[in-house]
Symmetry: C2
Subunit: 703 residues, 2 copies
């Protein structure tokens, strides 16, 4: 029986339901209309977004895989400050100087007919390339997007110069070079010209820059242009084609990264050919040594020659190993690495003992005042060790990389980001002297005609987030410590966040919060630095029972839950370090290290000491005794200074006769003084002042 009241009620309810549904459906339709394109966009493959500093996802012999730069956000702390300086001060100011010195005009004069002579050395093209690469690295982090416009314009200027063949290098167009020399068009890319002409070097840096820019933006214009140049070389040069030569290695790395980015095997093959040296080209042994090219890479037995060339060649060779697993390469690389680290590396990680040829010296030839230690060589050293680490997962490579990063690389840019070191001595009279420290006669300069170092620092600091972690099949490697957030995933795709809270390198405690998207068993490989004896690790508030060994990755395998906490305590007590007694200039001396930082004495910080060359440090039984440390906020951008008792001798001891019978020496008596050490990277940021890393020691109790 129908009840009119009920029917009305039902009609009402139905109608209302229909209206409500319609409203919701309309809203749904609107939502879908808006969301689908976003969803579709998200589904478009964007491989560039996930590629790291080097892209190892498909490299069969990479044990570790890089994470993209954007996956890590570096938060307030040691490196945030340096990166901010790089992107806000260094990058804009260097750009201005590159323009002022005509290094972009070198492109415009060819593309736009701008009526200016070519400026600078043959390899100036690489300065805008490396600068763009630096910008691209910061863009990958989402920093300073407004820099992209300058990069875009510059890329236009660059591409406009490319010839139909693909050739792209401004130095050889049948017109005079800055020094008046003319290279005929027909002589381009001939072995005699490649030996010094840097066309190969320009291609290498162009590839690295274009790939970094692609990884930042997804844009392929620059990448395509660089690939066209590479294609030209791959087509016309090689075995049974024209001979090619790396006069300044870097093209090997560039080509293999292009192979990784495009999957085109010909680039790997071309790199292999170059690494192997073309035996049809006959060059003097000295050039083969100097350029670190021209003979099969696997025939190298000693680290030698121009340090930057050697580091780039070794980096390229390691890239080749990562793709091919060629054991002869690995054996050579291991041997060269041991030779370098055991006999030819400064305590700062600096490489290259000789001003002559900016080159490695003999074993144990490591002069301090005359050290060359070009900033770029240490950067090349980081690149190489990063690749060796990827191949092996071995923490000794990370130790060296960290040593270079905090010291020999970091010292290269002033605290305000506008002055740069080219050579990095470990001892300095502080005076201006055109024979030492830099071609310009001062330690730090705003500009060098050979500009390689400043943009090299920029791209390194830009890329830094990408160096903090790697993934492996079974988990995550933590390489470097600083306040940061990793937002990435394990290799099976499951999401993972890791937050680091620390005041490293000033303090030794690092708190990590591990947050997998869901509970999951995997391994966190926590790096215990080689210098960190007695490191302690807690997981979830409990001290780990595993033994914690310095110089290794500590594998923490467990079922991780969101919010799990790991606490790492590194002993930051200052340490005195000696060198192998075969290092003639360090004999009887010690250096001070605290955590990853090498310290130095700068005259500015001492009082009552007339002459830095006349101090000694009395040494107790333990090398970590007798130090006071103090963080000085206002000093050198904020640094932990280290103080220790010292002895200052009369200046007279260092005056007068150069050679004297021994009796004289034994009579000398010193006064007690306090020595104040600052981190080496921060020296030469005040008025010029003497500096030294290695300080003579005397037995405790000596006067």
């Amino acid at each position: 029986m129908a009840c009119p009241m009920r029917a009305r009620q039902i009609r009402f309810i139905w109608g209302q339901a229909m209206r409500t549904s319609f409203r919701y459906l309309s809203m749904l339709a609107v939502c879908l209309t808006l969301l689908v394109p976003v969803w579709l966009l998200a589904q478009t493959p964007q491989p560039w977004r996930d590629q790291g500093v080097i892209h190892l996802a498909n490299s069969p012999y990479a044990k570790l895989h890089t994470i993209p730069v954007h996956a890590v956000t570096i938060r307030d702390g040691f490196w945030a400050q340096r990166r901010k300086t790089a992107v806000e001060k260094s990058i804009p100011s260097i750009w201005k100087l590159i323009e002022e010195h005509g290094y972009v005009d070198n492109f415009r004069r060819l593309s736009k007919g701008k009526d200016v002579p070519r400026k600078g050395p043959v390899f100036t093209d690489t300065d805008p390339y490396k600068w763009i690469e630096g910008v691209a690295m910061f863009l990958q982090s989402g920093d300073r997007p407004e820099l992209r416009a300058i990069a875009e314009q510059t890329i236009d200027e660059i591409i406009a110069v490319q010839e139909p063949s693909g050739y792209l290098a401004t130095q050889f167009h049948g017109q005079p070079l800055a020094e008046g020399r003319v290279v005929a068009l027909k002589d381009r890319l001939t072995p005699a010209v490649l030996d010094w002409g840097h066309e190969d070097y320009c291609l290498g840096h162009m590839l690295q820059s274009a790939i970094a820019y692609y990884r930042a933006t997804g844009e392929t214009r620059f990448l395509d242009a660089a690939a066209r140049f590479a294609d030209y070389i791959a087509r016309d040069f090689g075995p049974e084609k024209k001979p090619f030569l790396a006069g300044h290695p870097v093209v090997e790395m560039g080509l293999i990264e292009l192979y990784r980015t495009t999957g085109q095997r010909r680039y790997l093959d071309l790199a292999a050919y170059i690494l192997n040296g073309d035996q049809r080209i006959d060059r003097p042994l000295q050039r083969v040594i100097y350029t670190f090219s021209g003979i099969p890479f696997t025939e190298r037995t000693h680290m030698q020659g121009h340090a930057v060339r050697a580091m780039y060649a070794c980096s390229g060779a390691t890239d080749y190993y990562l793709e091919t697993g060629d054991q002869k390469y690995w054996a050579t690389l291991e041997n060269l690495w041991r030779d370098t680290v055991n006999t030819k590396m400064y305590i700062t990680g600096g490489l290259g003992a000789r001003w002559e040829g900016e080159a490695f010296g003999d074993a144990y030839e490591l002069p301090n005042s005359r050290s060359y230690s070009e900033t770029c060589a240490a950067i090349g050293g980081m690149m190489w060790n990063w690749r060796m680490l990827a191949a092996s997962g071995d923490a000794r490579f990370t130790d060296v990389m960290e040593r270079m990063l905090y010291n020999a690389v970091n010292v290269g840019m002033s605290l305000d980001g506008t002055l740069y070191c080219y050579a990095n001595p470990l001892e300095s009279p502080g005076r201006t002297d055109p024979n030492r420290h830099s071609k310009e006669g001062t330690t730090r300069n705003p500009w060098y005609d050979v500009l390689c170092c400043p943009p090299n620092i920029e791209r390194t600091l830009g890329a830094l987030p990408g160096y903090m972690y790697s993934t492996s099949k079974d988990g995550l490697y933590v390489h470097l410590y600083d306040n940061s957030l990793l937002d990435w995933h394990l290799e099976d795709g499951s999401g993972l966040k890791v937050e680091q809270k620390t005041n490293y390198p000033w303090e030794g405690t690092v708190e990590l919060t591990v947050t997998p998207a869901k509970k999951k068993e995997f391994t966190v490989y926590l790096r215990i630095p080689g210098w960190a004896s007695g490191a302690k690790v807690q997981v979830g508030g409990k001290t780990l029972e595993q033994s914690v060994k310095p110089g290794e990755y500590l594998p923490i395998r467990r079922r991780w839950e969101p919010g799990d906490r790991v606490r790492l305590d590194l002993d930051m007590a200052p340490q005195l370090v000696t060198a192998n007694p075969q290092v003639a200039e360090d004999f009887g001396k010690v250096a001070l290290q605290r955590g990853p930082l090498v310290y130095c004495l700068e005259q500015n910080d001492q009082s009552g000491i007339e002459e830095l060359s006349e101090v000694a440090i009395p040494m107790g039984k333990k090398s970590t005794e007798g130090f006071q440390t103090e963080f000085r906020e206002g000093l050198l951008g904020g640094v932990e200074v280290v103080r220790h008792r010292g002895i200052a001798y009369e200046k007279a001891a260092s005056e007068g006769a150069l050679y004297r019978p021994v009796g004289f020496e034994q009579k000398k008596v010193g006064r007690d003084v306090e020595l104040t050490f600052i981190p080496y990277y921060a020296w030469a940021n005040r008025e010029p002042s003497p500096m030294r890393v290695w300080v003579p020691y005397v037995p405790a109790g000596t006067k």
Copy 2:
């Protein structure tokens, strides 16, 4: 009334007297006929016979005056052996090699149209020049007269190339140089070419050689040719004429010696102009530093640049002072000398710390293994100190000269006189390594394309007798000690012989017999070497009451009688010497010196020591304690070896990590060993073996 008997008698006597007189008169006539030409010959001025290594008889600012080379006969002993080797082995073998390498053909191709390309670097002409100079020095001593024939022939070959203008240099005749470069005739002697082309250097050595040859033979052909070249320069170049430049100083010395030899003022003026630098020529600062030329000599404030160039320039400048007394020159020379001797000289007297530019380094930059110390630089140093000594009579210059002669110069020629050092390290791994010790990769080589050193040693050893004494207004200076006979005269012309009997430098006793032609009061200035504390002097068997100070000339003024005896006793106890603590590589180390000889450890002489880099010397309170010395006849041509207790550490200490916390170092324990030192000059005369001059020391009692 006449008595017939008496008249007969008278006639008879008269007749007999007449006959006798006639006989005697005839004999007299015959004698006169025979003797007059001899007498006349003796009366012909032969100034060349009395001229020393440099001719200072008329130099107004020379306090001391040289004696001719022939005035001293060096008898059996230390230097006789080396001089014999030089003249019998080195001079003939180097001549053969000069010919084989086409350095005389470089003349013949121009004069005789010999169809061969020009060989070697631009400055090869100076090699025959210096070789002839070496021969001339030995000819002055009357040694090996048969060498004169080769010298004569070569002089013919040289003179035949001289152009009517006077120009004489084989490198620039519009034909390609060895490296393919061509210098147009019009570009000869232009500043741009003089900067590197060595035309000035060829003239300088030609002058020195021709003057030495004139002093040996009285022949003027070669001298006239050299003077014609100098006349051409003096006529066309100078202020208000064409600008001239010493790209490699030596011409200053050559021109001033030509002035001394000919009395022609224009040569001194030309030298003054060159020493002053022509401000019309604009050159980069680095070239001005490197060449030690181009700015007023008196504006130099530091010893710097190419060491040989610097030494030759300073020698020329001292020559200029000796002629003019220009006090600005003297002040500059004194300042440069102090800078060199107090901050830039090796203990061996070696000069030039850097392989880069064969150059002086900064103050206290004195690496041992990488020391350059070119043999020629030490020879240049001897030349300079010899001139400073002449100007001042100050024994500090002789001390430096002796140090150089016995060590840095003497090491340059092997014991057998057929192998030469170019660079002279103070430490060596003994291995062949193309990066060190010599351009050829071995310490000693029979030949260098840049041949400067071997003939430079030859001319120095040839001239050595001329360095042993000088005269002054009031007497005689005795500079060097060795078995020898001086047969000369005082400055007033009265004859003087001095005989030396000694076994110096192996023993410290020197017996001098002073024989003036007649009794005469004058001063004998006896050099007391700077290293010889406690030296004792006896005259006529009685100990001298004057105080005997090391590093000074001891003036012995008395009425000398023929046969007067002087006995000098020098303490030859071995001494340990330290370096100024600012010399980074010598810090904590000692060197061993005995008399004028610097010693070294060569691995060959040690037993039970695995690694020379791992030894130390325990040092007592006195630096002369704990030595045993022994003359070994059969070793290295006969040398006094010195033995001392040493400590050898496990080789492990120099293996493994380059840098390590201090604790490690303190644990090392050594074994007692005996260290055997040999004179530095004698090293590298056996199979290649590690060597070191500076040895770490530890307090006595250390293990």
